[in-house]
Point group: C2
Chain length 194, copies 2
């Protein structure tokens, strides 16, 4: 019980729940332990769940029509991750979800999530606000890409994902920033000189 | 009363409300009539409201560090529009909101929206689902841009915004598609030939 409660209060920071509410949330969330390298979602899959990362590192990536990989999101401790486009619109996955570092995650299915929201409205308010922030962050990132240099985008990346660099490969970072790995090492060298 | 109720049932399709609930929603929404050319939000403004478009056409655009305009979203009848990044994160506008065709819109402030959600939880569920779809649509559009040709993006644009072309200028469409106006007319000519 105790460890699950810890997860609940990590997911819903600053909220308080009755024992009855905790039972509902615990029933909604399923613990999964995953090894590095696992592909949790593949393009074309049905996506009926989202995942809260208790510990570990995952990423979603998109493969374009030329076969080039684009890293869309990294997920680290206390973040939600899935193919949100597929999950929200009940359509097939267009992205892939990969485990980059051994992970402990909590899965919540679409139905369990809707049931939890209906039973405990404050969880819906909390998640709605998270979603608003995620929407804003994603839009801001796209707009920043229009104005920022690769170096500025790299510095943003570091502040968004502190301590992530040891878990992931250089080509993951480069594909997230939309640059080559050669450009990435040039940027790092230039910053190291300063 | 009647015309306002019409708006309520346009905003919350398929929901039913008691008279008391209708009063709360009516009090939350303020009707505004706007002329073509009005700039409703300018980069740097505080953004404390979002807008439901009963009739008309608006767009949000971003000006990058080189002074180039990027059209981010068009809003047509029954759509919500604002600088969502600023509204959701309570920060200054990074985009501009312009009226492209005379419009009747309904404004809801951040506080009025939160009050309405707290009083009538089904409005929050409804808007949370809208937001999930908007997040998915925006992410899908960004990913499509990585794989699709300009012609495919133009065809997508037409199906997303039917009948909008007569309300807006060619350079608005071009800046939404990320192409020049010359490329846009070339695409149109090629499609006309088919």
């Amino acid at each position: 019980m105790r460890s699950d409660n810890t997860v609940i209060y990590k997911v819903f920071k600053d909220l308080n729940f009755s024992q009855a509410e905790i039972k509902i949330i615990e029933a909604a969330m399923e613990k999964i332990v995953l090894k590095k390298g696992v592909i949790l979602i593949q393009a074309g899959d049905n996506v009926d769940a989202m995942y809260f990362i208790l510990d570990g590192c995952l990423r979603t990536f998109y493969i374009d029509s030329q076969g080039k990989e684009h890293t869309i999101q990294f997920g680290i401790n206390d973040w939600w991750i899935t193919d949100f486009t597929a999950f929200f619109t009940e359509s097939k996955a267009i992205m892939n979800l990969e485990v980059l570092r051994d992970a402990i995650i909590y899965k919540i299915s679409r139905d369990a999530r809707e049931y939890m929201f209906a039973q405990i409205p404050k969880t819906e308010t909390f998640i709605r606000k998270k979603l608003e922030n995620a929407y804003a962050a994603f839009q801001k990132r796209i707009l920043s890409n229009l104005s920022q240099t690769a170096t500025e985008r790299y510095l943003n990346f570091i502040s968004t994902y502190p301590n992530i660099e040891k878990s992931i490969k250089n080509y993951h970072i480069a594909s997230y920033l939309g640059i080559t790995t050669e450009s990435l090492s040039r940027i790092r060298k230039e910053l190291a000189k300063q």
